[in-house]
Subunit: 427 residues, 2 copies
């Protein structure tokens, strides 16, 4: 792991000369072509692109209800039970995110309010292959369920050997209304524009490879999308009171995701940092995914030695990590130090995988520093707001002069006229 | 105005063969070049591009506090008073949108919660020239103020004759913390990446021309942005009990905005539709902005005759208008019919300009059918959420087997190990 230390400014300097993502113009153009193709040619394009990219020839994209039911029979009972437990925790957490509208009648003759309503359809993208995670199916579908979205469409790429039964079982448990086997940029385009087979949706969420991510950006505005996801990261803020074995294990659980994943320890104690680094090396050797985790640690693993807890949190807020573990004594004391982080894990036993699978908060989180402005996926992502007003004639009369004045200053005479005409005799 | 009638299916068919926006690839590439230029060359690029596009040579972009104070002296007292009244209404409405976090301690040893915090910086784009609207300054800045954003940066293009004092006065009244004179795609790039003069922000909001809109889409993910805005529209649902003069005036207040603006009446009464169409023609002749309004009405004005109120609302929901006026008897009875609309105006006296300037709900609304999934600008747009969890050792022990099982099914052994290691003796 790379060691970084010095005063805060020196640390900022070193952090900010890190990776720069070069725009992938070629891939962007390829994605634009795929999206336009599906928009124009619908199912014909989908079939052709599915044969080309997935090597599978399909006549029908829909996964039948009986296939979904069968999947439940083909996975272990203890897996279903664990998934049901996770579902219960996810539901009870997200239930608390539900918002209501409001109505305000403070001024006589005036009513102002806001409705909060679910989207009518949501499209959930679920990756195939080795990145197929049943937990992700739950995390993406359940907030839409709680929002009250009546039609939840899941898409996932077809495999040469059929679909992953764990994914289908998760879809069934989460309550996907319809499942289609189609993937990549073509699936995103189909959900955005609709085809004869695939329904058009209001919003597309879910993780995916570069093609999926670029396609989502391409159709943003035609439909809504969730966030733009980049490589994932964890920051652990820990002092010498923490357990280096726990911290090392948590860093590695991030590192095993992806060679680009970033596992970062910020500590006030250099010896503690050394102890964690040796533990990381020791534990690495026992991991089936050692190769991936080792590359991540070698390229992006960092131990940052800060000269105070204050400085540690300033550095953490500057990184704005997806996951933040606070392994300090009395961790709750430091929650108020957190400005930018997707999800915070407090204390020695709130290990990141607990949040990934089970505790209830969403594991779809803002990555790569976007926690400065993006939020965890939640119920609000599947709702839209509508404002409303009602005024009596008397109430409008009291405010009409100010409205007319503002409209005229902006040169919008027809706006002024629309107010004035309501107080004029017909001629 | 174009008349459309028939059964619901026939109406849908006619609506959906409307305008198709062709991708403006050339402009997209020009915008990409501007954004890359500012990212790479900072202030030098900003100065060069400002000279090129705005015809103004600047040495300093910052508008001083004394210039802002002066602006208040250079506009009429009744204008300031009207703007202050509007501000009060906007604040009292948006105050009700504020959200709190929560904490849940339902399970022994488990704490789960959510923080809601303001963004640290927001960038507000305000157009110059003839599209400079003081009301828009209030509508974009005040929700950020209520969210608690501590640093609100406004940018607006420089003019050869200096800046519009009404815009500067509005900035002062709304409480912009810093104002810079820079516009176009270069301003968006500066806010996204930061330059020596212009601070980097977390989110960019505000209306703008095609260059501004494409630049916002280009930097989405580096920062957050508000919605992608297209041409603006109003749908009025009215029956024969409504006043055709009022309805015509409201349609025209939309039409005067822009030749691409859409003013649509959906009615159950063809004679009423005829009466509105003649009123539109009559009132058009009296408007200073007749040319713009006439073009909008000629190209996009529609009277849709529906065979029932139910059908009228189905058509309206399919259009998903930015503004919806319900001019029926007992308009509140129909609020539950509204699925997709940005803002709803109920009854004969809730004219759209009342909402544009004064009532309090935001006038930054989802346009061009995006009310299916986008919402009015609001306090939530300037906040981010962070989840947090804390578990005791006992609480984790109860759930550890399920977590380990799920992690292993996903092939993420290091995830499973991070949980297990907490219950193992050190060896």
């Amino acid at each position: 792991m790379r060691f970084i230390s010095g005063d805060k400014e020196a640390i900022f300097q070193q952090l900010h000369t890190a990776v720069v993502d070069e725009a992938q113009i070629e891939t962007e153009l390829a994605v634009k072509r795929i999206v336009a193709d599906v928009r124009e040619n619908g199912d014909e394009a989908l079939k052709r692109l599915t044969a080309q990219f997935d090597g599978v020839t399909l006549t029908d994209f829909r996964v039948s209800q009986s296939d979904l039911d069968d999947a439940l029979q083909h996975v272990e009972a203890d897996f279903i039970q664990a998934l049901e437990q996770a579902k219960e925790n996810i539901l009870s957490y997200h239930q608390k995110q539900k918002q209501s509208g409001f109505v305000d009648t403070e001024k006589r003759g005036v009513m102002r309010g806001q409705l909060v309503r679910p989207l009518e359809t949501a499209g959930i993208y679920v990756p195939g292959g080795t990145a197929a995670y049943p937990s992700s199916v739950l995390m993406n579908i359940l907030p839409a369920k709680i929002a009250g979205v009546p039609r939840i469409i899941m898409v996932t790429p077809p495999g040469a050997d059929g679909l992953n039964p764990y994914i289908l079982a998760a879809a069934k448990i989460a309550g996907a209304d319809e499942v289609y086997q189609v993937g990549g940029a073509q699936a995103v385009a189909a959900l955005a524009f609709g085809t004869a087979s695939i329904p058009k949706v209001d919003k597309i969420v879910g993780p995916g490879n570069m093609f999926v991510a670029l396609a989502k950006r391409e159709v943003f505005g035609i439909v809504d999308i969730d966030m733009i996801a980049g490589p994932s990261e964890v920051v652990v803020v820990a002092d010498a009171t923490a357990n280096p074995r726990f911290v090392a294990a948590d860093l590695l659980s991030q590192a095993e995701h992806d060679k680009l994943a970033r596992a970062i320890l910020i500590t006030t104690s250099e010896p503690f940092g050394q102890a964690v680094a040796s533990e990381v090396e020791k534990q690495l050797r026992t991991l089936p995914r050692e190769e991936i985790a080792r590359a991540s640690i070698a390229n992006f693993g960092q131990v940052i030695v800060a000269d105070s807890i204050e400085a540690a949190f300033e550095i953490m807020n500057d990184i704005a990590p997806e996951h933040l573990e606070i392994q300090l004594e009395n961790p709750m004391d430091y929650l108020s130090y957190v400005k930018n982080a997707g999800s915070v894990f407090l204390g020695a036993y709130a290990s990141e995988p607990l949040g990934d699978y089970f505790a209830g908060p969403n594991h779809v989180l803002p990555t790569s520093g976007t926690a400065r402005f993006f939020s965890p996926l939640g119920v609000a992502d599947f709702c839209k707001r509508t404002s409303f007003i009602s005024y009596t004639k008397d109430a409008l009369e009291k405010e009409k002069d100010a409205i007319v004045l503002l409209a005229e200053k902006e040169g919008l005479t027809a706006h002024a006229r629309a107010i004035q005409i309501r107080f004029e005799e017909e001629n």
